[in-house]
Amino acid sequence: MSKILEKLADQHEERIINVLYKLEEDVVKEVTRATKGQLVSQRLAIQLRPAIKKLIDESFLDEADTIINQEYNKIAKEVLDRFGEMPIPSKFKSLTEVDLRTINALKYQSFSGFEDIAERFLKVINDEVYQSTIAGRPFEDMVSNIRSHINGVYKSSNSAEINELVDFINENKFDNAKKAQVEEAVRKLHTQYASDRAGNNLRRYASQIAHDSVMQFHGQFTVAKAKEAGLTHYTYTGTLVRDSREFCVGMLNRTLTEEQIREMWNTRAWQGKSTGDPFIVRGGYRCRHTWLPTDPAWGEETVDELPTEEEVPPPPPPRTTVSDVPIAFLLNRGSDNTRKAFDNDFNSQLTDQQKIIVSKFNKPNVIKNSKNGVYFAGRKELRAELDARDINPDGSSVKSFVISHEYGHHIDYEAHNVRFRAWSEDNDFFKDAIQKDKKQFKGSFRAGQYRIKDEEFEELHKKIGTYETIETYSKYNPEQLLTSYNTTTLKADGFGEVSDIIDALALGKFQKKYGTWGHGVSYYRKRGRVEKEIFANLFSIRNNKKAYNVAKSIIPNTVKEFEKRLDELEKQ
């Protein structure tokens, strides 16, 4: 997505969010005025409907109308500017009568999306007043519910801390430099204060529509212009963010024909896919990517093969039939919400088979929700961070499966029954498989160890990440640039764990050479650590198909032995 488009999508979302605060206050004021704080008359509840509708029309819909009428012309201009840069006849680069009609039709269509949700939430708010009257609900409870229907967890509150969090999120939501703090504030808001109120509300839908309508308007107008110019190839463009869909990750920068795109759309499914036209809904709700027209004859792009099924993620797996395994009761501290979130995070990292295994063996003695992951085999203490992420140099991040990594160590020791020894460091088949996998790569023996050649690691690095340059300034003199160096940006969730597996094969030199995730050279000075870390990493990514498949392509024999071990443990 272009910077302009990205900015417009964010700005529109922000404007809609701001107007919803005014709406929240106005609706509460109107309900208080009409009822005088007493819910006694059902007739009054019905009479309130036109007044609430007027408030919604005058704030929310007026703002949507202003945005669409004033701002969407900027999107059309952005599309035309892009066409202006293409080597196509100039008649396709300007705004035509047909274009104007198309733009107006698309604007009308966008506005109707806002009208639909306005109508829907008018009913929700009105039902709240009516039902509260019938049920004799306290007035304050009803007001709180109305606020929730409009702004969800971001509603105004009597708690200063909640308001501070909400203000912080709203003020910094679109500031990339504060992404991590905003995510933490959102997490806190949901888990500590309002986990039961994270569901449907006007803000959620309105901000999504504000964002998606910009993208969809752009998509529709772009395709209309491309067809007019006779362009039939498209490149999937945009940037990846922390929670980019696997579909978007797999498709990024690919050039396909319209026919290929439609074929893929009709035959494939992925998590988060929306219904609609592939050029309009793209990856799904809130997708930040666009199909931009191109022509391979221009010499900039070549037509790619359709991604294989393995590259494009499969449909979501069927709902699990094995119950989640609770471990968060072992946390040394933490609120109910934190414990719930810890259990959810842990179980989301496990396959059904792993859940069965976890439930069969003794659990750790104590678990700590701690910044760094550690497992102490002697005292059976597990430390891991809830919702851990590997932060890339550009501030984006990918999911890191730390809880299941450390639990993998626990299972490795616990199921082995030899004090201070793990199965992986003692099992000859597992150890041999690692050596066999290493020897698939070019290398030579040095000091009794098979060392894989650097050129092979270069290729492996391409599988998991890209380079980013970091500049480091002195902490003591912030204006002094000390050095700048290349480090790794991970491509997808669980790739930090895959990087760590490669680092184990390289005895820590992969991290040293490529500035990527790993335990490092000094850690692997001790025998048994390569095997234990590979086991724990495979255990942690077993439920992430993409990361696991990459690992499998690197160490197929080891994965085979690992799976045999899981089968054994399941049957024990």
Binding site: A377, T472, T483, G496, G515, G518, S522, R529
Partner: protein
């Protein structure tokens, strides 16, 4: 051999890869970068740069038996 602050900063400015930074740490402190409680490459490289700037080596993590990161 002890390096002056000027020499360390000059060497730092030339260390433009992760590997060169790890090697520089070894050159300045005469020992390899120790085990720390993180797998994050950028955290480790920041520790290295900071250590070289202030000429104070990174404190190694105590590793009791059966300790796994």
């Amino acid at each position: 051999m002890a390096f002056s602050k000027e020499e360390r900063i000059k060497k730092l400015s030339k260390a433009n890869t992760s590997e060169k930074l790890y090697n520089l740490y070894e050159e300045i402190f005469g020992e390899e970068f120790p085990v720390v409680e993180s797998l994050n490459p950028n955290y480790k490289l920041e520790l290295i740069i900071d250590a070289i700037e202030i000429n104070k080596k990174v404190k190694p993590l105590e590793l009791p038996k059966g300790f796994n990161i």
